[in-house]
């Protein structure tokens, strides 16, 4: 992306606030958005969760889910060996089936980006490397450090940056600070050749406490230039719930209606089974439409999900269930 307008903040935000993005102008806008009724939202999510996806639809869903996974390892104990193993799993998800689709990306800490890029080799591009940055998961570092963290990962070859917002600032009403930080990180995603790494903004919804806050944070992140909004770091519980994801999808849909721009959504953390993941697909399709059923616009941040989906895939192919030893651990 070399288009100047694609750089944050979105021109739309500047128009909305007449060029001045301040705590006050942001507050007026964000708090003027219609509220969320928690009971109603959860009912809608539960209703979407009762869709029955069978046979051919299930097979299609399973392949779509695999192609949307950001295969993730984010442990203090990660080693280059662990990352290479993860990449190998991404390259060959099912050793017994060459037709099995590959996940969208591997997601690692910044210092592992070079290892991941190296391990991917020629496949880098077909599978992306996503790096968490900005003092993930807490985000408690100075802006200088956060930007350096980001630039470092981009320089090492990261295609996507998963940043965290400053929840402390958000909850205390310093919306402009959160906004400016996203803008600055987006700028740090630029590469020397003028292109940019994609920016996913993690809201850490488990710390935002209310659905109203999730909705405001979603708008804030999009206004500031997020390419994707992501639920969670996976380090805080609750992580990606269906109601929260539905709510974020509604914001993305409304933004599309307003501007024609398509923003992605990434639930991360806590989605472990094929059955759960299918509920998310249904929610995406019935909220934003099928256009969003692509890795460009929807991802799952997960580690154990892939193997459960692969078991289901094998079951559909063979007609019977195997067991955990029939899929590889990474």
């Amino acid at each position: 992306m070399t288009d100047e307008s694609a750089l944050a903040p979105r021109t739309r935000a500047l128009q909305l606030f007449d060029g001045l993005v301040t705590d006050t102008s942001l507050r007026r806008f964000l708090e003027g958005i219609p509220g969320v009724d928690a009971v109603g939202l959860e009912q809608r999510a539960a209703a979407l969760g009762t869709r029955s996806i069978k046979t051919t639809s299930k097979a299609a869903a399973i392949d779509t889910i695999i192609s949307m996974i950001d295969l993730t390892t984010l442990e203090g104990a990660d080693t280059p060996g662990k990352v290479r193993s993860l990449v190998a799993k991404a390259l060959v998800p099912d050793a017994g089936d060459a037709a099995c689709p590959q996940p969208a990306a591997v997601c690692v800490y910044g210092d592992m980006v070079a290892t991941a890029v190296d391990a991917l080799g020629a496949a880098h591009g077909q599978i992306s490397v996503a790096a968490v940055a900005t003092a993930f998961p807490s985000g408690r570092a100075s802006l200088r450090v956060k930007l350096a963290d980001t630039a470092d990962a981009v320089a090492a070859g990261a295609d996507e940056i998963d940043m965290v917002i400053d929840r402390g600032a958000f909850l205390s009403g310093q919306y402009a600070q959160v906004f400016d930080e996203i803008v600055a990180v987006k700028r740090a995603c630029r590469r020397e050749d003028g292109t940019s790494a994609h920016l996913k903004v993690i809201l850490e919804t488990g710390e935002l406490n209310t659905y109203d806050n999730v909705r405001r944070a979603s708008w804030l992140a999009i206004l500031a230039g997020a390419d994707f909004i992501k639920t969670s770091t996976g380090k805080v519980s609750p992580a990606a719930t269906l109601p929260v994801t539905l709510l974020m999808l509604e914001v993305v849909r409304d933004w599309f209606r307003l501007t024609g721009e398509r923003i992605g959504v990434k639930p991360a953390g806590g989605i472990r089974t094929s059955k759960d993941a299918i509920k998310f697909l249904v929610t995406v399709a019935e909220t934003c439409g099928e256009d969003w059923l692509t890795p460009e616009l929807f991802r799952f941040g997960a580690s154990s999900l892939l193997n459960d989906v692969l078991l289901q895939r094998q079951k559909l192919a063979t007609g019977h269930y195997s067991g955990p030893d029939y899929v590889t651990i990474d």
Partner: protein, 503 residues
């Protein structure tokens, strides 16, 4: 292939063990009826499901006689705790046979399986559990100590929630110590007959519950039977009027739950996405065959266009088709007759100048179907704003001020329910206070709970069902003129004794 064209996911009918023919359930067993037998059909494909009997006046007499005998010999003498045990047993049996009942209901009524499975049948069990708990606590029903049962209840129920309406009628009646003769609707007798099997399974004393099938004349014979002490009817306002006339002056106690034309009021500060869901749930739940359906949408002018746009895009995701498919949102219209009525009224809507929009969906070639439809630009004088359509048709009106919303909402001969959508609690309370409707939902719609009373104002009927209030319909205060002379004397004595004790 489009992902949203979900592959068929039909609920299996293998669990159903239907008989080809069902008799009348009188005195604890299935017996032949004297009228002309008829078929109950599946509205989704017009296929016949089973043959049921028509009860004529002599059958009604037999059923009322069985109920009277059971009342006098067993049920009125049994302790509340023991009656409660039977009701708990019925509730558990409903849960055990939940899937079977849901399939039967969807088959016979045409409603989507997800509704019969997730709403109707669980509520049926909840209703029996709830009233089972009341059976030995009638002293606390608000009628003073030792309230008296009435005797034999004649109950006539509609086709929109066949089994649920049965539970609303039978559970409080039995808990209060009455026996019943119930007539399900002509087009949906199936689950009531399965319920008769549950009654047998529960070992309920013979005659406490009698179920007779047939058309309007059967119902008429039942409510006019001289030995019926209490009449409970849910259905159309027209029939309600006729029943009220026929019961007048007879000393029978009467509750009527009739039609509605509920206003669903959406203010500009409403939680918009949830309001859209509420509008959809309000009028497209059960194909709009709901007496408390939110059939008039009153939306604040400033958000009208946004609401309509969101509503249309949401309605485009509704899935119409096979009621037994687990992904179906909109099932079949219950009968050809009802479909005709919906068509007539929607044509009137167009003729009167309202703008019609119908969700893009393919209708099956067999059976009775009507695509979700909304009318914008509706005036309060249009027929579609005044008459109950009882189908998946929404009339959209606008308002500018809360006062106008209240005036328009109340401007109807009905008064069963209403909905308010706003983020502002004070506004919800202020508006709810001025709405003349029996049930008012705030930021939700079409939610039911056995603990909550339900009933109408004006032409929507009188009396309350559900909750403690629902017991009042089946009880008389101690000493009130009771139905049976023998009993009257007995209760009078009790009352005198109590009074003397107090002195």
């Amino acid at each position: 292939m489009s992902f949203l064209e979900y592959a068929p996911a039909p609920e299996s009918t293998a669990i159903l063990n239907l008989k080809d023919e069902y008799g009348l359930f009188i005195g604890g067993e299935f017996v032949e009826g004297s009228g002309t037998a008829f078929s109950t059909i599946s509205p989704a494909d017009e296929r016949a499901i089973a043959t049921v009997q028509t009860a004529d006046a002599s059958d009604v007499d037999r059923a009322v006689g069985a109920a009277r005998q059971a009342y006098e010999r067993v049920w009125s003498k049994m302790s509340g705790a023991d009656r409660g045990k039977y009701l708990f047993r019925i509730a558990r049996l409903v849960q055990e046979r939940a899937r079977e009942l849901a399939v039967a209901e969807s088959l016979d009524n045409g409603k989507p399986i997800k509704e019969s499975r997730d709403v109707d049948v669980p509520l049926v069990a909840a209703w029996f559990f709830y009233y089972a708990g009341w059976a030995d606590k009638l002293d606390y029903a608000g009628l003073g100590p030792n309230p008296q049962s009435l005797g034999v209840a004649g109950q006539v129920i509609p086709w929109n929630f066949p089994l649920l309406m049965l539970s609303w009628k039978i559970a409080p009646a039995l808990a209060a110590g009455n026996t019943v003769v119930l007539k399900p609707a002509e087009t949906t007798p199936l689950t009531a007959l399965l319920f008769a099997e549950i009654v047998q399974q529960a070992g309920l004393p013979a005659g406490v519950v009698n179920i007779i099938t047939g058309a309007g004349s059967t119902g008429e014979a039942l409510v006019q039977h001289p030995d019926v002490n209490k009449v409970a009817f849910t259905g159309s306002t027209g029939v309600g009027h006729a029943i009220a006339k026929s019961v007048a002056g007879t000393g029978k106690k009467l509750t009527l739950e009739l039609g509605g034309k509920a206003a669903n009021i959406v203010f500009d500060d409403a939680p918009i996405d949830q309001a859209i869901e509420g509008i959809v749930n309000g009028i497209f739940f059960n194909q709009g065959h709901v007496c408390c359906a939110g059939s008039r949408l009153l939306v604040q002018e400033s958000i009208h266009d946004d609401v309509i746009e969101r509503l249309k895009s949401r309605l485009s995701t509704l899935r119409l088709g096979d009621p037994l498919d687990k992904n179906t949102d909109i099932g079949a219209i219950n009968s050809a007759e009802q479909l005709e009525r919906i068509r007539t009224l929607t044509e009137a809507g167009e003729a009167e100048g309202a703008e019609r929009w119908t969700a893009p969906c393919e209708l099956p070639s067999q059976g009775y179907w009507f695509a979700p439809t909304i009318f914008t630009g509706v005036s309060t004088s249009h027929r579609i704003a005044r008459e109950e359509i009882f189908g998946p048709v929404l009339s959209v009106l606008t308002f500018r001020t809360p006062a106008e919303a209240i005036a328009k909402a109340n401007n109807t001969p009905y008064g069963l329910s209403a909905g308010i959508w706003s983020d502002k609690g004070s506004r919800i309370l202020a508006v709810a206070d001025k709405l003349r409707a029996g049930v008012i939902w705030a930021n939700t719609f079409n939610r039911f709970d056995p603990a909550s009373p339900f009933g109408g104002y004006k032409e929507s009927g009188y009396g309350r069902e559900g909750g403690r209030h629902g017991l009042g319909a089946y009880l008389a205060p101690a000493g009130a003129p009771a139905a049976i002379s023998e009993k009257k004397t007995r209760t009078r004595t009790t009352r005198t004794a109590t009074k003397e004790n107090r002195k």
